[in-house]
């Protein structure tokens, strides 16, 4: 097992280097000078030239690349052009918020998706199954940004207007008076703020997982060992939950890993719409301001999170299925 994990870890290194290289060259091929936003039209060309030299922008591109790569590898992402503080600080402020959002969602996606999928497979072609299939496909086809807006419209704005007993806050991580709340009220406040963003992120992906789990379960249920389990008189519950579900869940782990890019894409919209101060919001804002170091760092970290997530999925899979380890 340790050898397997090590092999996978080593495989991820060139991948990360490749991604870093890709980001670097995309940014440097782009037209426009990174210092352009720093100066007005009144500034003397010598000053601009000096600043360019200061940032190392006058050096040949391969020198810039090696320097940047060396800095990135050691965790030094440079200095934000607009916020006047290290990029690492910007990222460290934003990353926890994003992780709270994504980790909560991925756990819910897994639970909700498999639950619905198993229910559908057990009751194949029942009314419940048909309804859920259509509903799942519907949410699966829905763009995250529109779903987010509809969530805000219905469960926050209109719910308040219509005087529903519960309405959720449309934006932010905490309430304005958060500082003055008791610990229990603080926790409640945070949870309430999580509801709409997490629901938005969860629904589409859970629909995908449900579709897949259903198909997988139906496949497994036809296998001989399920017939054996039934033949030896095991209760249906045990057959489904222990024998069929376990084997169906294996590929779902991999699928969850593959869904990570979609999850992060969704996060960008959700954070933008719900004013959630995470990585997605940072990247959208820094694109608008042409804050190159922040853009490079955030996109690299998004890609790195995906790679790490897939790595975790691989390791989980190998842990759950011994056949993989000895390949």
């Amino acid at each position: 097992m340790a050898a397997f994990v090590l092999r996978r870890l080593l495989g991820a290194v060139p991948l990360l280097l490749g991604i870093a290289t890709l980001i670097f060259f995309v940014l440097h091929l782009a037209p426009g000078d990174p210092t352009a936003s720093l100066f007005g039209p009144q500034v003397a060309p010598e000053v601009i030239e000096q600043t360019r030299r200061h940032f190392g922008l006058d050096q040949p591109i391969h020198v810039q690349y090696v320097k940047w790569l060396a800095a990135t590898v050691t965790g030094n992402f440079g200095w934000s052009l607009n916020q006047g503080r290290p990029v690492a600080d910007v990222v460290l402020d934003a990353l926890p918020n994003t992780l709270v959002l994504t980790i909560t969602s991925i756990v819910l996606v897994f639970l909700l998706g498999t639950l619905i999928g198993v229910y559908q497979a057990v009751r194949q072609y029942s009314t419940g199954d048909n309804v859920l299939t259509v509903v799942a496909l519907f949410f699966y086809s829905m763009p995250a940004f529109w779903l987010a807006l509809m969530m805000v419209l219905i469960f926050s704005l209109k719910a308040y207007q219509w005087g529903w007993p519960i309405h959720f806050p449309p934006t932010g991580v905490t309430d304005i008076n958060y500082e003055f709340l008791s610990p229990a009220a603080k926790l409640r406040d945070r949870l309430v703020h999580l509801v709409l963003p997490v629901t938005t992120l969860t629904l589409a992906l859970a629909a995908g997982i449900a579709r897949y789990t259903r198909g997988q379960m139906l496949e497994v249920v036809r296998q001989d060992y399920i017939r054996t389990a039934r033949a030896k008189g095991l209760p249906e519950r045990t057959v489904i939950l222990k024998h069929a579900l376990r084997n169906s869940l294996l590929p779902v782990i991999t699928l969850l890993g593959l869904y990570l890019p979609f999850l992060f894409s969704g996060t960008v919209f959700v954070e933008y719409i719900f004013a959630w101060p995470g990585m997605g919001r940072v990247i959208v804002e820094s694109i608008g301001r042409r804050d190159y170091p922040v853009i490079m760092a955030t996109s690299f970290i998004f890609a790195a999170l995906t790679v790490v997530g897939n790595l975790l999925a691989d390791v989980l899979y190998a842990w759950a299925d011994p056949r993989i380890r000895y390949e």
């Binding site: 890709l22 980001i23 086809s141 763009p143 960008v268 996109s299």
Partner: protein, 381 residues
């Protein structure tokens, strides 16, 4: 025998069919065909009558859009009319005459009612985009008397309401459809071509080329597509061409993986060995022998890819990274409504519903095609 009588009865139904396509089928008892042909014909006739002033006006305005719409209308009318006429002439096909793989798949697909509904939606939508100049009730960019028409809720005059400049939302959604559907189609064509070729090359060549290509594919796959898109579109020019190209060039990895996997197993098969033994070049083997055999999964992934691309384009537009205004796209229409959710919910709601409808249709067709073409990958047991 009764040949002449039958023939005259047939010619009468055909005559009826010339007047109203589909009616002939109904008389002969082919209800399924009639159920499609008759409504299609009625719809087109109603459209012609309703849009008559605009149709007559086409030569005067002479814009390309109008001519395309006119051409589409004429083609659609002729197609329904001609098909109905000739279809009646054709003898009913024996049920077991079908032999080819594609025909079996087609028969499978026809049984899938949801997929057929999806296909119908897609055809209607593409027709609607081409016919937009005749269908759209108002000019999508014209701002009429703002004081009178700004932010009107949905009504009989404005089915989808109006936006803050008093522009008709239905017209804007219709015009937005052309951008979304066109980008979806073109970008997917690009990605499928690139993806299939790269996958076939990787699988066929093997060794180092395969390893290098697949590492590169992994790299692009590891990148959240939206982040990559935002990066490129924001840094380069924000034009329709760039957006379409970038969407096309970021979608290919999934196709590449599928194709490579299939080619890996195909290239050891006898017919490829035979092709090699005959001395065919690599290019010919890849293009003529391998690619046609992996088309089934490629078609499925293309169908699902179009839906995906439309969502992506809408997302970019929503972040104001799409085609620049005043061009309406579904994404920037939703973005317009973002800050007016409470007092004008219709602005964000209807364009979003359009996106959901299209993507749902493509997903239904994609699922149907997968079930029909590739029994291994069935979603339904």
């Amino acid at each position: 025998m009764h040949g002449p009588i039958r023939a005259s009865a047939m010619s009468r139904t055909r005559l009826i069919s010339l007047l109203a396509p589909g009616l002939g089928h109904l008389l002969v008892g082919r209800r399924a065909a009639a159920a499609i042909l008759l409504p299609a014909w009625l719809l087109l006739v109603i459209l012609v009558i309703g849009a008559w002033p605009r149709i007559v006006g086409v030569p005067r305005t002479g814009s390309l859009d109008d001519w395309i719409a006119l051409g589409t209308l004429a083609t659609a009318l002729l197609a329904v009319w001609g098909y109905a006429y000739y279809d009646l002439q054709r003898p009913a096909r024996a049920a077991d005459a079908a032999v080819s793989q594609w025909r079996i798949a087609m028969r499978q697909f026809r049984r899938n009612r949801l997929a057929l509904i999806g296909l119908g939606c897609i055809i209607l939508l593409y027709l609607a985009t081409l016919l937009t100049p005749f269908i759209a009730p108002y000019d999508p960019i014209a701002q009429r008397d703002i004081a009178q028409t700004s932010l009107l809720p949905p009504s009989a005059d404005h089915w989808f309401g109006t936006d803050r400049f008093g522009r008709d939302m239905l017209s804007r959604v219709l015009y937005g459809a052309r951008i979304s559907l066109a980008i979806g189609f073109i970008a997917t064509t690009i990605s499928i071509t690139v993806g299939t070729l790269l996958g076939a090359i990787a699988g066929y060549a093997g060794g180092r080329i395969d390893a290098a290509l697949m590492r590169f594919t992994d790299m692009v796959l590891a990148f959240p597509r939206l982040v990559l898109l935002i990066l490129i579109v924001a840094l380069f020019e924000q034009s329709l061409v760039v957006i379409t190209l970038v969407l096309g060039l970021t979608q290919w990895p999934t196709t590449t993986r599928i194709v490579r996997g299939d080619v890996l197993s195909l290239r050891e098969r006898e017919f490829i060995q035979a092709a090699r033994a005959l001395g065919f070049g690599h290019v010919r083997i890849v293009l003529r022998h391998l690619v046609p055999n992996v088309l089934a999964p490629v078609i499925v992934s293309a169908t699902l890819g179009i839906g995906n691309t439309i969502v992506m384009e809408a997302g970019l537009s929503f972040l104001n990274l799409g085609p620049p205004p005043p061009t309406p796209t579904w994404g920037n229409l939703v973005a317009d409504g973002k800050d007016r959710l409470l007092n004008a919910w219709w602005i964000a709601t209807f364009p979003g519903m359009a996106i959901v409808l299209v993507v749902l249709a493509f997903n239904l067709v994609g699922d149907g095609l997968r079930d029909a073409l590739d029994p291994r990958l069935r979603t339904q047991g």
